[in-house]
């Protein structure tokens, strides 16, 4: 399970765009293209701001009107998938002002 204050960053080796509302991510080292659905695209967009896991959960919970538990479960699975594909880096837990309301 991911900690709420872990920071999620796009791997700087990726290339990406939001095209017609959907994120397209390329890993140039193997020329793989990864396409996301609406929610995945929104999460990828949010990763530009290098949010914590907790901040992502809070944002998706608000925007997509799903329970916090559901948002956390989906985001954790998605983040694990992105990590396995080499699209993101997980940073160390940092001391930042909490914005997700969790403790």
């Amino acid at each position: 399970m991911l900690s709420s204050d872990q920071v999620v960053r796009r791997d700087k080796r990726t290339a990406s765009r939001i095209l017609a509302g959907e994120a397209v991510v390329l890993t140039p080292m193997n020329s793989k293209i990864h396409g996301f659905n609406e929610t995945g695209s929104r999460i990828w967009e949010l990763l530009a701001g290098e949010p914590t896991v907790g901040e992502l959960v809070a944002q998706i919970h608000r925007e997509f009107q799903v329970s916090e538990e559901q948002a956390r479960a989906d985001i954790e699975a998605f983040i694990e998938d992105l990590k396995a594909r080499g699209l993101i880096m997980l940073g160390k837990a940092v001391s930042r002002k909490k914005t997700d309301g969790s403790d």
Binding site: T14, A15, V24, G40, I60
Partner: protein, 367 residues
Amino acid sequence: MDQTETQDNEARPNRTGLNGVQILQAKARAHDIPLHVMLELTNRCNARCRHCYIGNRSPKNELNLAEYEHILDQLAAAGTLFLVFSGGEPLMRPDFFEIATLARQKEFSFILFSNATLITSETADRLLELCPERVEISLLGGRAVTHDRITMIPGSFDKTIRGARFLIERGVSVQFKTTWMRENIAEAAEIQDLAKDMGALFRSAFLIIHKRDGSASTAELRATPDQLREMIRQSYDRREVKTVPPEPEPLNDRQKAANPCGVGQITCRIDSHGLVYPCAAVDIVLGNLRQETFNSVWHGSEELKRLRSIRIADLTECSSCELFSRCSRCAGLARMETGSLLGPSPQACIVTRAFEGFYQERRCQLQ
């Protein structure tokens, strides 16, 4: 909340029969997105290749770093994902790495076209850090004497191979590319073996476009039909798996309603002075980024609207040719050769007939 998901889409066809890049290109076409942009960073070059289309190599009035930053911002906003850094020789620009770094910070993918003669171990380290999709390197002969005669720079072959090795050793993807000419086509096997032995990819180019000053002087460099046939035969004999494509079929109405190529659809070229063109070969100026925004050119150019409206059915001579589905016709080259974007390209006709003639012989032998 929808199930979040990712889809691997690189080279593997999916249920639609299209691979990831093709799906992306279809989407870009549907939304008028300039997915691929070639940035000709400079006309300067340290080689003097006899088939090169660049005439004037002056660096005068080249776009500067700040101008490139502004252009990259505009391209990112327009949806461009894939850049090609071309030239001239891009590494002749002292600020090449600043431009490339900006591009990667703005999350573009890039391919570098280079002759690799300026790539040192330090340069290779810096390129590795930038994680290019690949570096495409012109290799014009399997032997130094041939390559150097075409580049007109003694010692260039050795420098090119050395530069390529620095990249390959670091895991940077390298693709050698050879334009087949009268002078080098007999060395096809040596060139391809060299690429394989070094761990590089390889691709061929059969068409030689005219010089941008309008001169057709490069025409004399073209391989003869006999040379092409011999090279095709040798390449076929060397293949581990020998397959012959089926007989070509005439296009149906649905196929004729498609665009002939990506010109003006999802690609464009920006030269080192900020002029925008539909592609590397079509020399029609669409706009000037020193005077107008990229968006206004891409969406406002009347010339582009005309190019986008061209359908295969409009290519009156080509669309009824039974070899069209096999043809590597280039609209820009057709325009250079005959004055018409809609006409056939005699060079492409020769190459396509050489291939199809060979395959037809094989089909007859197999029957």
